[in-house]
Amino acid sequence: MTVPALAPTSSEVLAVVASRELAGKRTVFAGIGLPTLAASLAHLTVAPGLEVVYESGVCGAHPSHLPETIADSVLITDAEAVISMPALFGYVLQGGHIDVGFLGAAQIDRWGNLNSSVIGDWHRPDVRLPGSGGAIEVMANSREVFVVMRRHEPRSLTDALDFCTSPGPDRARADGIRPRGAGVTRVITELGLLARGGPGEELRLTAVHPGVTVDQVRAATGWELDVADGLAVIEPPTIAELRLLRDTVDPDRIYLR
């Protein structure tokens, strides 16, 4: 067993903070990496019945090794169910079975809209990014969405997206489409935690990591960031949380860089 003598790494802090936000949730849609680390830790702590659904169609995985991708063969062998894409996206996601969807993005704005398509103009981009994958559907159909942003900087948390790939409920409504979920409700970054309740609300700073100042966060955010009353300081990862992460969830430190 690892003695958690080492100070928590940035990845460990992000995973722990995200795991705590999953308290009481039943189903989470997650990609490999920090989201699955967070979900695995939550499963062992605050959300014992938590089921992770993967975009590949795997439900109730029991992997023998830490998976490298959402489609890793170790997620399939011994899973409770492996379903087709029409069933995964149609019946599970659009069917309303996902409590929390985890998403990443190159850019996020104050309303929780996301860009994962391009930097620059879509037609002749400076950087062509991978695109939506299922992110548009995760955003549109999950009850709420958590975003983990390793880097907290103005070009990522931006005042104006270069392109809106995955819109939150406010943009959907403005487009004449009835929104379903709350959109992004949590943004977990290296500096702190941003949150919003749902449609019509901006992301506000609700907690900072120990030693981080509000000015620091504001300077790193591309929009005029609002701060919640009673701003909290995030409790650092506990020894119990770190032990679980290091000894049980990712003992080979594949994602806990």
């Binding site: 062998t77 492996v82 019946y91 659009q94 069917g95």
Partner: protein, 328 residues
């Protein structure tokens, strides 16, 4: 460990998997019906000829539910029985015959006398209602119904104009159906684990869609198996646990329909039903004896007797396994 012995003396074992935190959703059929089926509910009972949840229908009758809307593609003997027991005021269906064995007497009487509200669809219209329901879509398009009289008597069959031109450049119109989202869907299956991951084989019909379309779902199974059995073949899980609220073990609960690999269809009973259901008094007597007169489905199964089940028994025909592989 639960141990159950069915009418042929076969013992089925149900074990929990140690080391998992998956919720145990098993309960008796009586409790499941009491908890999830209420007067006035919309109840979907699916299974295309195969795996018809008859035992669940009988338990609804025993508990005296009233004012139900029953949604079912092929109204079958169990629907005729629920009608005769006065449980149902509205039927949503696409086929109201007793398979190929004659009529459903009670259903015909009630429709012909104007005592039953009947929403008539075609099979694919029903399938599309389940598809829309499972996907929480406002409507589902299909290529049929053009020129049929059904839209004249069923106002739910409507048209949409496609935003893309047709092959000839002209606007294209299609019929659509609305979603159905039952209060509860009840299906029968071969086996499930205690949290509701359900293996179904043979005819799988529209069971997955009907379950996903529903607000709550009851899965009745021939046997509860260890999670390791289900997990040895995750592609066979037609219905994942997250879509299931109650798991009920009820061997032979699909009689007189069949469960592929477990027991065959009771064709003689289908033929007999044409006669029983033709005469309201004979039908009432049948219900008294076989439904009200049996405490539960286990009693119904023993009342049928070993010889009866022996005639419906099948020999083994095992699938050749596939290899899911395991990383070294």
């Amino acid at each position: 460990m639960d141990t159950q012995t069915d009418a042929t003396g076969r013992t089925t074992r149900a074990r929990t998997t140690p080391g998992t935190t998956a919720p145990d959703k098993t309960m008796s059929l009586r409790d499941a019906i009491a908890r999830y089926v209420h007067d006035g509910d919309t109840v979907c009972v699916e299974g295309f000829t195969h795996l018809i949840p008859t035992a669940a229908g009988h338990e609804i009758i025993r508990q005296g539910r009233r004012g139900l809307t029953v949604v079912r593609m092929t109204a079958d003997i169990v629907v005729d029985q629920m009608l005769a027991a006065d449980c149902v005021t509205t039927l949503v269906s696409s086929f109201v015959g007793n398979s190929s064995a004659g009529s459903l007497g009670e259903l015909r009487r009630r429709v012909e006398d104007g005592r039953l509200t009947f929403e008539e669809y075609s099979h694919y219209g029903m399938v599309c209602r389940y598809l829309a329901g499972a996907q929480r879509l406002p409507f589902y398009p299909l290529r049929s119904y053009g020129g049929s009289d059904l839209p004249r008597v069923n106002g739910q069959l409507r048209k949409v104009t496609s935003p893309y031109p047709g092959p000839d450049g002209e606007p294209e119109h299609v019929y659509v159906v609305p979603p159905v989202n039952p209060d509860v869907t009840i299906v029968h299956a071969q086996r499930a684990d205690r949290s509701g991951n359900t293996h179904v084989w043979g005819l799988t019909g529209v069971q997955a869609e009907a379950v996903y379309a529903a607000r709550t779902a009851i899965v009745v199974v021939e046997e509860i198996v260890d999670a390791s059995v289900v997990r040895s073949d995750p592609n066979r899980t037609l219905i994942p646990a997250h879509a299931v609220d109650a798991v009920v073990v009820c061997p032979r609960g699909a009689h007189p329909s069949f469960a592929q690999g477990y027991y065959d269809r009771d064709g003689a009973f289908y033929r007999e039903w044409a006669h029983i259901s033709k005469d309201p008094r004979r039908l009432a007597a049948w219900l008294d004896e076989w439904v009200y007169g049996t405490e539960d489905h286990a009693a119904y199964v023993s009342k049928l007797g070993r010889d009866h089940w022996e005639r419906l028994a099948v020999d083994e025909a095992l699938s050749i396994p596939v290899d899911y592989g395991r990383r070294r």
